[in-house]
Amino acid sequence: MTAGTANWSFTQDDFTAITESLRRFLGETKSLCALLVDRSGQLVTTVGEAPGLDTTSFASLTAADYSANDQLAKLVGETDFSSLFHQGEKESLYVADIARRLLLVIIFDSRTTVGLVRLRMKDEVEELTQLIDRVFSRDRNSDAPPKKLLQGADDEIDKLFNW
């Protein structure tokens, strides 16, 4: 049994590679916005236009929505539903799993079609899976930076809560 849940981190280079990939996807599919969310509901990054969108709440609800659907899949005998589609009058959402770690959410409107988004999504998921696998395989290395980030910071942590 592990003590707790594993931590992970990503660098500026990871961020740039992910952002470029998502930007290309948005251009090719004429979608509005892409959000990358981790399965615990934390926003990794957002690309494209999302005016007025509360991305923090959006990320948390996406993760909950996906997890609930994951359980529904199991109840009907499926391992998972690899993607979800929510259709709105003007804007719609397409959600896909990335390496069982992250969720990619695409927001699009009538300037494109769900068919095109779905078609291009397969390649995008593969590309992001490779990028994310790289992040996680690096974090498994014992020299990974996250373990050192707050090393020796006990006093600073104490001060942070001095309110």
Partner: protein, 225 residues
């Protein structure tokens, strides 16, 4: 699962408030929401029934300050306390970094407290998490009610301590929140035990709410140190 984002310089952590139905988990979040500066918190999202019972979860993101140039963002979640919502409750525990167990001090809720604590251990174990090895604090809520059980009784039932097997950890660790008490100590029988830090609270008035949040957040950050 703490996520460190070097690009936006943020440390993101997830804290879950667990406990029996009507124990005050949502009230804890509502108090935090009402008291922290609007610029340091997001919206309070509640997925609740028409009668304001939590159906899936409540969610509140708060920034607790900056450390080494990184913003510390805590995502606070509650679970539905009612027994039959276990499937939803378990989902919320996924990738959790710290747990607050909100117990109901009323003597007649002892059974419900015990059932919920057992359920917490079981759900955590199903994910492969060991509650005794991660940031975990207990809050005894509703201390103002006339039928509140004595703290000693609540501690004996809900926080009796787990055995410390690692010899390196077998040394007295005083409870920083209660003078004269210890978090790690040797019992008269010779075995070493560790208990979770506990707090008394009256969440509707805000008493003990921030003490609890501070303690668990500090433990979460220290787990990264």
């Amino acid at each position: 699962m703490s996520m460190i984002n070097y690009a936006s310089r943020e440390i993101n952590c997830k804290i879950v408030y667990y406990g029996p139905g009507l124990g005050g988990k949502t009230t804890n979040l509502e108090h935090v929401y009402g008291k922290v500066k609007p610029e340091t918190r997001g919206k309070l999202i509640s997925l609740a029934t028409e009668t304001e019972r939590t159906l899936f979860f409540d969610f509140l993101p708060v920034d607790l300050g900056t450390i080494r140039g990184f913003k510390t963002r805590f995502h606070l979640y509650t679970v539905p306390g009612q027994v039959y919502y276990n499937a939803s409750r378990k989902l919320i525990l996924k990738n959790v970094d710290g747990i607050v167990f909100v117990g109901d001090s009323q003597a007649e809720r002892m059974e419900a407290n015990l059932e919920s604590m057992q359920n917490l251990y079981d759900n955590m174990a199903e994910y492969g998490y060991d509650l005794t090895q991660m940031p975990f604090v207990i809050q005894y809520n509703k201390r103002d009610l006339p039928n509140a059980a004595p703290i000693e009784d609540l501690q004996a039932a809900l926080n009796p301590g787990w055995e410390v097997e690692d010899a390196a950890k077998q040394r007295v660790q005083p409870d920083p929140y209660h003078a004269g008490q210890n978090l790690v100590e040797q019992l008269s029988g010779g075995e070493w035990v560790e208990r979770a830090p506990y707090f008394e609270a009256i969440a509707v008035q805000g008493d003990g709410v921030f003490d609890t949040l501070k303690a668990v957040s500090k433990l979460v950050l220290k787990a990264l140190a």
